[in-house]
């Protein structure tokens, strides 16, 4: 039970960050036509920033259900990697339910908390952090949908970039040590810009196509030295 309380404390700053980003995500959800309850439900089920953003865009574009499954898989595929890594950090003696719960709540932040523990992670530490931060995520989304229409346009405009700030905070720091990542980011920016401006492809399609092409190109041109067990 001590683990749970410690985890809860660690979850407070994570939850505050989540709240701000989820609010911005709520603005995107509102433009796809979701009501606050639907936004709350989506965030409670998905716990995914990029994944939810991609899904809201896809809903707006009224994609077929099969394409929705594909866009969900592609925009969340980084969790496959984390799931593999996390599987090594769960005590083989631990009950199966912990694998399901930790998997369900696998986000970049909870992942970082879990893998930093030695030799195995304490699931209750994670549950503590999740019990504060996950409600912040779901409530923030609902509030973003509710308030997005009430707040002045100026404020909504500023808040709508919060989500992209979070993305930048994830993709940019590794550029310091990895030239291939820098090249792939620049290539992604340029090709995404060109496809959005000079073709009629939907944004969901562009995301799927470019992710597969550019990541594949990266894997061929820049093999990762000495493996990549770290994510």
């Amino acid at each position: 039970m001590r683990g749970f309380r410690e985890g809860f404390k660690t979850g407070i700053p994570i939850g505050l960050g989540y709240f701000a980003v989820a609010f911005s995500l709520g603005i995107a959800a509102a433009s796809a036509g979701l009501d606050p309850f639907q936004g709350f439900l989506t965030s409670a089920v998905m716990n995914a920033s990029a994944g939810e953003n991609a899904a809201f865009i896809a809903m707006k574009e009224a994609v077929p259900y099969l394409q929705m499954a594909l866009i969900t898989v592609v925009s969340n595929i980084r969790y496959v990697l984390m799931s593999f890594a996390l599987s090594q950090k769960i005590d083989p003696q631990a009950k199966m339910i912990h694998r399901f719960l930790l998997g369900f709540f696998l986000t970049d932040e909870y992942f970082a908390l879990a893998v930093s523990q030695e030799p195995y992670c304490d699931p209750f530490f994670s549950y503590g952090a999740i019990s504060f931060a996950a409600p912040c995520w779901a409530l923030g989304t609902a509030l973003g949908i509710l308030m997005g229409n009430i707040l002045p346009a100026r404020i909504v405009s500023a808040l709508s970039v919060a989500l992209f700030g979070m993305f930048l905070a994830i993709i940019i720091p590794p550029v310091r040590t990895s030239r291939p990542i820098l090249i792939l980011i620049v290539l992604s920016f340029v090709s995404s810009f060109l496809l959005s401006r000079f073709t009629s492809l939907s944004q969901s399609t562009v995301t799927i196509v470019l992710t597969i092409l550019i990541s594949g190109l990266g894997a061929i041109l820049f093999p990762v030295k000495g493996g990549n067990d770290e994510t």
Partner: protein, 101 residues
């Protein structure tokens, strides 16, 4: 929305749960195939980049405010300021720029 929201959510929920839980429960050994490992390694950077630009300049009222936020965010993130600070810097960049233009 032409399609049903709840069916969408069901499809999304099952897909994302499968992605997160299957490796954790079924496959407990590291992936051996080099290409797949490297491909998966690069995927998050590419997906998030594609979703960030040009979307960030389409999100703000004034596209130059979005562009400014992009550069401010890149600099802040490069200096390893952390998720919360980078996010705030992006928002304030837009707020300030749109006050003047």
């Amino acid at each position: 929305m032409k399609h049903n929201f709840y069916i969408y959510l069901l499809v999304m929920g099952i897909s994302v749960f499968a992605i997160r839980v299957l490796p954790l429960t079924l496959i407990r050994k590291p992936i051996k195939n080099r290409f797949i490992r490297d491909f998966l390694y690069y995927v998050p950077y590419v997906t998030l980049s594609v979703m960030t630009f040009p979307a960030i300049i389409d999100a703000t009222k004034n596209p130059y405010a979005g562009l400014f936020a992009l550069f401010a965010g890149i600099i802040a993130a490069y200096r390893q300021m952390g998720l919360f600070k980078v996010t705030l810097i992006c928002c304030f960049s837009v707020l300030i720029l749109e006050l003047f233009f």
